[in-house]
Point group: C2
Chain length 576, copies 2
């Protein structure tokens, strides 16, 4: 069936994703930091301020935003990492199962003679790979620290040898909090062109990885186009394609069908895979009295299979064979929380934590095979029960990177679940979650369109950055400081250009004060000139600056006041 | 100047706010709970489910959503509370300063012979007022508890005797978290009609109070129209109108000008007033090295005045006279944090906390005069420094209700500050903040329009409800449970109608699956029939329900497994 898939390839027109080329403002410019070799150039976004200074920001948009680049989805992106893999000389090319991409014919690679070609394997052998150096430079971190975090299993660097187009990045508690954007067509709607464009659109706004959750027609071909054009790691849930192969009848799934699907996706270059190996037969009864049962697609499919066959989950019984496959391509596990809670009432229950313990065990097994591992987390959790999730995961899963969906902090706001979940996401990331899976306004209601994807990504960039600030990540606050300086100095253009979304910031300002002079006006459009607190603050500094900063009397008075514990004397008449 | 104001009254056409009459869905219906007397009827929203059951929800929309009601902004709302005030017999009517409202001529009231006609005064004398009973029924709380919380200063019930149109509500840590919506025109834009309509629009979506921050033309008249048509308490910052009286020259402000302005607003019926009495001369130097100086309008105005005159803040030196005025009308203090931080870098600094200590002292003085008190809080604060704000406020301000603006958890997202602040708002409310002042997407950029007001209100209702859940407020989770039941049972219409915003939820679903049958479809539009986890969960329960719930073997197995600490045996090959 996948072969039929492969033959009937609809070819997206190149206009598809080139519409996402370039930045939303000319003040943003793609620059590169040089690594230890000419072919190791690390991209970043330079924000040019009106006073000539620049602010460098982490960038995920890939070559699409390079000044010279002209996008052609039919040719795909340049294979940045092929040379690095060649140089290591531990992989072999072979005849793959499904030749699919016309633009750049290639044969898949895999580790030669079962060599562990995983970043975890190299790190454990003390090697700082090109990927590690690239990712370290990108984060402003020491490459040796990156190697050590990966070696300890506290961070992952998802980089399938068959996805050379991806720019190496890190997922781990010591590094910047990352976000994932889900895309994917379904039986109900959407097309290949749309999905490729959603991917480039999501990365343009800051998605660090993209998961292709396609479940409909042309599932294999859609993913091929996404991979060949993606500058970020791509994740999938292979179970979805396996289920398509058995025409949606869960009970007809088998290890063999699943294994073949995984191998096909490894050959394509999928960087990480969600595997629901923790949904054990004996856990299913624990969900019987839940309010919303099993809400994970993969979890419900495997639960149905277990009950139909009265056998243990084949992903669990064949887990070590699966490790051997992923290890040959350096595909990272994202151990799926198939029993995550689907509502506030089901949060932190026995089913959820029983599965989490199993995921911890599986993580140890995977790492024993040199396979990188992330652990997936909830879901729907009220604020006061979020930290327990993070603390338990750290304890049970040996500090493996936690990758959570939200969590949503209330069930009552369908249509606004990017916000109900953004609250929980910021909190759990502050407490240690390494990557946040975004939620769009369409969650629970429909498939996200282009605007929903952007809203979801921006909301999660906010949650991730708020967490970086709270974790005291070195350098995180420099961005806030630059924007606040621009705000206080009425450099409106700089304020717009330093914003996560310059287009929206500028358009909102224009709605109230469209006139061009307003862009240099020394007052805020909310208050008008007389009532602008910042304008008044400036007046105070101009008129009384000397006094405020120098006048010993006043300074002394306020120091003495501070020394006195800032206590104020007041004549109190009566008392309560 | 205000007299001129008063004469040239533009009269809004009655269409103005009647456009906000009625609920967004016919499944919502206004009902009333009977109190101890016929004229004590407590409104609530009844959500009617498709299976005939109903879910009662707290409602702030006022008579506009009563089945029979036809709105006429020129006549105003019925004076619900006049009879209650009459019955107490401790107020007197007198000739007010500015006759303004044509629709229902009235003379202002005040406490007779300096009687303390405040809810705090009554509570301390052991009286459960009609307002307390009303608010208690509204929250499903014991009226005696309400009285005791008010008597202790841990809760306020803002209810100026000259705003009889308002429906009594509570602000306090023991009660449901409340939200405030700011409206108000400025020198730059907007009109009276727009402001009245923004008020009814905000309360329709859930605003518990509204602050009129008008600073432009017709400031007095605008407020009069808002008050006469508002079912919720109205707050103001009298300093803004005082500044208009001296043509925006801060140094020309005086206690006399300010006092007259306050009296005029007391006579109009303003329920609570922000007073920046904590901005002391000696604190101003503490802001000199800040990144964004003083960002509160009132704070910057008073700082400028203090420096210009080299005198102490007249709001501070005349604070007790001010208490005597507010006490005569039962106007609640909202002690303003004029030195709140305006960016992440300035959070929790010496200036902010020095002022907070003064606000604590002033609160004790106000309560000594039987005047109700709230304390205002920040601002911009990174997540890891939010709790310190709440803990210090509780300690310094004797558990007086905290009323915070956000806080915003990062500075980098202008255009999305409802989200950057919704994160901080949910957290600080969980930790004890009683009322959250909303932030709209236009914050820092422009004046909110109708859509921005709705987005701000819905975002803050999410933060407030998430906090109610986290605080374990009795009954809060029933709402989430009802919606999640509807979701699991594919009762789409009920899911829409139980949402904070049924219009948006329904329209998002229609975008993907417009067809009417989809409203009863047993699958989610995201996944299509084959991949709907909930559909599969149902299948599991139908086919294996007996087994899952009854089969002793399986149940026993899973219990024994749980007893064994949920540990899973797995053959571990190698180990890390």
């Amino acid at each position: 069936m996948t072969t039929r898939d492969a033959q009937q390839q609809p070819v997206p027109d190149s206009g598809g994703s080139s519409t996402n080329s370039g930045y939303p403002t000319p003040a943003w410019r793609k620059e590169y930091r040089a690594g230890s070799r000419p072919d190791l150039r690390v991209p970043y976004r330079e924000v040019r301020l009106t006073d000539g200074r620049t602010v460098p920001l982490y960038d995920t948009s890939g070559p699409y935003t390079d000044p010279g680049h002209t996008a052609d989805v039919r040719r795909g992106l340049p294979p940045l990492r092929d040379g690095w893999t060649d140089r290591r000389g531990d992989t072999e090319e072979y005849q793959g199962r499904i030749p699919v991409f016309p633009g750049r014919p290639r044969r898949p690679r895999r580790g030669r003679d079962g060599a562990a070609v995983t970043q975890l394997g190299y790190a454990r052998r003390g090697v700082v790979t090109d990927e590690m150096e690239f990712a370290a430079l990108r984060e402003g971190m020491d490459p040796a620290l990156v190697r050590d975090e990966i070696a300890a299993g506290r961070a992952v660097l998802p980089a399938n040898v068959n996805h050379p187009e991806s720019e190496p990045m890190l997922i781990g508690g010591r590094f910047l909090v990352k976000i994932n954007a889900n895309i994917g067509n379904s039986a109900v709607t959407s097309s290949i062109e749309e999905e490729v464009e959603k991917m480039t659109w999501a990365t343009r706004w800051g998605a660090d990885t993209v998961m292709d959750l396609s479940t409909g027609r042309d599932i294999h071909t859609t993913r091929e186009w996404i991979l060949r054009n993606s500058p970020v790691p791509i994740g999938t849930v292979p179970l979805y394609q396996a289920l398509e192969k058995v025409d949606g009848r869960a009970e007809e799934l088998s290890w063999e069908v699943y294994r073949d699907t995984v191998v096909e996706q490894c050959e394509q270059g999928v960087d990480y895979m969600t595997v629901h190996a923790g949904v054990l037969l004996r856990y299913v009864p624990l969900t019987a009295r839940r309010k919303t049962g099993i809400v994970s697609r993969g979890g419900s499919i495997m639960a149905a299979w277990c009950l139909a066959h009265h056998q243990e989950n084949f992903l669990h019984t064949h887990f070590e064979e699966l490790c051997e496959i992923l290890r040959a391509y350096d595909v990272t596990y994202s151990l799926g929380d198939g029993l995550r809670p689907g509502c506030i009432a089901d949060a932190n229950d026995e089913a959820q934590f029983a599965e989490l313990r199993t995921l911890g065990e599986l993580g140890r097994i995977a790492r024993a095979h040199d396979v990188q591992v992330m652990i997936e987390g909830p879901g729907h959790v009220p604020m006061h029960r979020i930290k327990e999730n993070m603390d338990l995961q750290k304890e049970i899963c040996d500090d493996a990177p936690f990758y959570t969906l939200g969590p949503l902090t209330t069930d009552v706001a369908p249509g606004y679940d990017h916000i109900t979940s953004g609250i929980g996401a910021a909190m759990i990331a502050w407490w240690g979650t390494a990557m946040l899976c975004y939620v769009t306004p369409k969650e629970h209601l429909g498939l996200p369109d282009r605007d929903d994807v952007k809203t979801g990504v921006i909301t999660y960039k906010i949650a991730a950055h708020a967490a970086d600030l709270a974790k005291g990540h070195p350098g995180a606050q420099a961005w806030d400081d630059a924007l606040s300086d621009a705000r206080f100095e009425f450099r409106w253009e700089d304020q717009f250009n330093l914003a996560l979304d310059p287009e929206t910031a500028r358009s909102f300002h224009d709605e109230t004060l469209p006139a061009e002079p307003a862009k240099t006006a020394h007052f805020c459009s909310m208050c008008g000139p007389k009532f602008c607190s910042m304008k008044i603050s400036h007046g105070i500094r101009e008129e009384y600056g000397a006094e405020l900063d120098i006048d010993q009397g006043m300074r002394a008075k306020s120091e003495e006041f501070a020394a006195a514990g800032n206590r104020v004397y007041l004549p109190v008449v009566g008392s309560d």
